[in-house]
Symmetry: C2
Subunit: 435 residues, 2 copies
């Protein structure tokens, strides 16, 4: 079977492209053209057929939620609850990133619990299994890694973060710059770097990139080029190691696209606000416009406990300047494995940020809802305000917890309601689309 990008190049509008077009209020021809050019991807899998979600140019910025066990906390039911919480809270995609317990089981249970596209990171299970089998992750056999990627695709993975871009050349750049302030923070990345250094060998995912592409293509799984050397600290942002890996990932994105595979490029991480726009410009330029999947970014290192907010601040900028898929960050980031409530808070903060980014990415259509909301506020139409709210239930709960004496107003101002007072003074002046 052909992939979305192969079909798009033949001018075929697949049901997935049509579904994305309907959802996004754009034409199917537009989606088809963008998929053909590799500027939009639709995470998919012939085996599983998840919800069709478009990621890329001209489309709403999407939000990913990552869940999964760790070696310390293995609770299969909790992961299923977290997956459902992510979907309920409005995540567009889900990553299942378990490294503890029965990894096949948790992956399959999570996939069964949601209809979102689900992605993962094959290196996690690969190194876990090597460690369990040989007592040493560095004894991982590359053949086993390729078999595992195939097995995971066969379970229905719609996208897969594969660390193809790490190579010996980039590791040399990391050493020459005197390592880093914040070090390496990618679990899969560090494991692969460790394997390469222990075995004195090139990364098999880089050396045999065409083989990775070949497996994913069979399923139409999107290949997301993992950010194994991503900066995990403000002072490492845009360092030479970060940019070297980005450069190689952009090269691989072009190669993979030419081979007929849908390609995503991953980005950091921790980025100060003044470097966000430049980072995205570079990724778009070097990759020929591949969709960009950013982890926020987190915009300061010093606010553990509030990283859903530091990342929302970063994500509003990244989505504004062209990031296409934003990975949420939860309040537990840097501290602990997220629980169900963290997942909800993380998704909501990221969606609010992505919405704000889209107001600037798409200055016309991105602000229509704001205009309606402002009129509903002016006219004290509470029902309409809740309809237009991104999270009506949360808004209703706050208002209901402090019921006003006069249902037209709220307890903030009560009798002193500015909207009501001003409405009486100026209602007759309204003109045009302000009415």
């Amino acid at each position: 079977m052909k992939t979305q990008i192969e079909q798009a190049r033949e001018g075929i509008i697949t049901p997935q492209m049509a579904a994305v077009a309907a959802e996004e209020h754009v034409s199917p021809e537009y989606v088809c053209r963008m998929v053909a050019e590799g500027k939009v991807v639709i995470p998919w899998n012939h085996v599983r057929a998840p919800k069709a979600v478009g990621i890329g140019k001209g489309l709403r910025t999407k939000v990913n939620a990552s869940i999964g066990t760790s070696s310390d906390i293995v609770d299969y039911e909790a992961e299923v609850r977290k997956a459902r919480a992510a979907q309920e809270s409005g995540a567009d995609t889900l990553m299942e990133l378990s490294v503890g317990g029965d990894l096949d089981r948790v992956r399959r249970e999570v996939i069964a619990a949601v209809d979102l596209p689900v992605g993962n990171v094959p290196l996690y299970q690969a190194f876990c299994e090597a460690a369990r089998k040989y007592g040493d992750p560095n004894r991982l056999d590359p053949e086993m890694l390729f078999d595992l990627i195939e097995r995971q695709c066969a379970d229905g993975m719609a996208f897969m973060a594969v660390h193809c871009g790490i190579n010996l050349y980039t590791i040399e750049r990391l050493r020459r710059q005197g390592y880093r302030y914040g070090g390496l923070v990618s679990k899969g990345g560090v494991s692969m770097v460790g394997w390469m250094m222990a075995n004195g060998r090139e990364n098999p995912l880089y050396e045999q990139f065409d083989r990775v592409v070949g497996i994913l293509k069979k399923y139409d799984t999107v290949l997301s080029l993992g950010n194994g050397l991503r900066a995990g600290a403000i002072h490492d942002s845009s360092d030479r190691a970060q940019i070297q890996e980005l450069l190689i990932n952009c090269e691989l994105a072009e190669m993979g696209r030419e081979m007929g595979c849908q390609m995503l490029v991953e980005g950091p991480g921790h980025v100060p606000l003044d470097e966000v726009e430049g980072n995205i410009q570079l990724q778009k330029r070097m990759s020929g416009g591949a969709p960009y999947y950013m982890l926020g970014p987190i915009s300061t290192d010093v606010a553990p406990g509030f990283d859903h907010i530091t990342a929302a601040i970063g994500a509003a900028q990244s989505s504004r300047f062209g990031a296409d898929l934003i990975c949420y960050i939860t309040p537990a980031e840097h501290l602990a494995l997220p629980n169900e409530e963290d997942v909800r808070q993380g998704v909501k903060a990221a969606r609010v940020a992505a919405y704000i980014g889209d107001m600037n990415k798409y200055p016309e259509k991105g602000r229509e809802r704001d205009r309606e909301m402002s009129k509903a506020r002016r006219d004290l139409d509470w029902q309409r305000q809740f309809e237009l709210a991104l999270y009506p239930e949360d808004a209703r709960a706050i208002r209901a917890s402090r019921t006003p004496e006069d249902e037209a107003t709220c307890t903030m101002c009560g009798d002193f309601c500015a909207s009501r007072g001003a409405g009486r003074l100026f209602a007759g002046d309204l003109r045009g689309d302000k009415v």
Copy 2:
């Protein structure tokens, strides 16, 4: 007694300037020069002597928390608790904005509960008292208003938001533009506009601006020029009414400064991200560099329940581009009167945002703490991480709620800890200030 700005012009370094200099790690001469030029203000009051806090050029961006009763919810003890919660959470200034109950009582109890500079909005009490006395706020007597301002200053107000900039000319601009999508949202502003329209008279605070200045100068209270026509909706941002009032406020800031009064200019409100920088540039240019006090800004209208986040996203930009004092926004904004927990969440989100803004406003010194934090993370020094966190207690609580098996790591990655693995591989490569 002379005001801070009058003394600064004579080259006198007051104890307040010295305290600000020590707190901010700048020279007393610098603070004195900035105060003389009107680019830094120190909210003060000879009667009360609050903590000396500097607001303006070259100083850390400050955060204000607003509390106060409404006609629906009057609980004096709760307001005192909210005031203390704001101070504990790191607010730099406090505004007491009650409009319900015994307004003298709540003001005095709140002032007694904190040592922060406390500000207020005299129009609230003025219109409340007129409504109680005459059954009609529009029967407010201007003489009573000036007496009230004096009485409130005598209670120790360190800054006062006075709506001097509203005038008949600006109201005409509002009507000519066909009113607004979101209407007027300033309680004091709407009340004054209503009074002007009912009485067919100019705003006495504008007409007798020198009298307002004269009263505040006596106490060295900062005159904060209120934003009575501020945009309360994304689609009203930078409309002609907003900019007309800003222009007049900037003119008044210059006049007040020349008269020897410390002056602040207030800004919106609701501003889309792409208009934040321009708004601040305009305020700085038109006012001759007066400190700017912004309400966030909130960066979308559609996320009620999450406006501490929409405002944090806006405030990171506004502080980045030059706003000097940020008013917090709580999760209850647009829905209800904030409670104590809302106050804490609002202050914390605003402080995180202001910190991120300062990383960009002051790219060198604003990021030193981030560098130390990234090293502590890399080296798994948890004690140091908590010391460097903006909110150590919140961070500790999350980690403690999910205790890791190995105290060196956390439950996010457990055995798979990237920092530990990478540290072993690259410790020998560290050079320079990365060590």
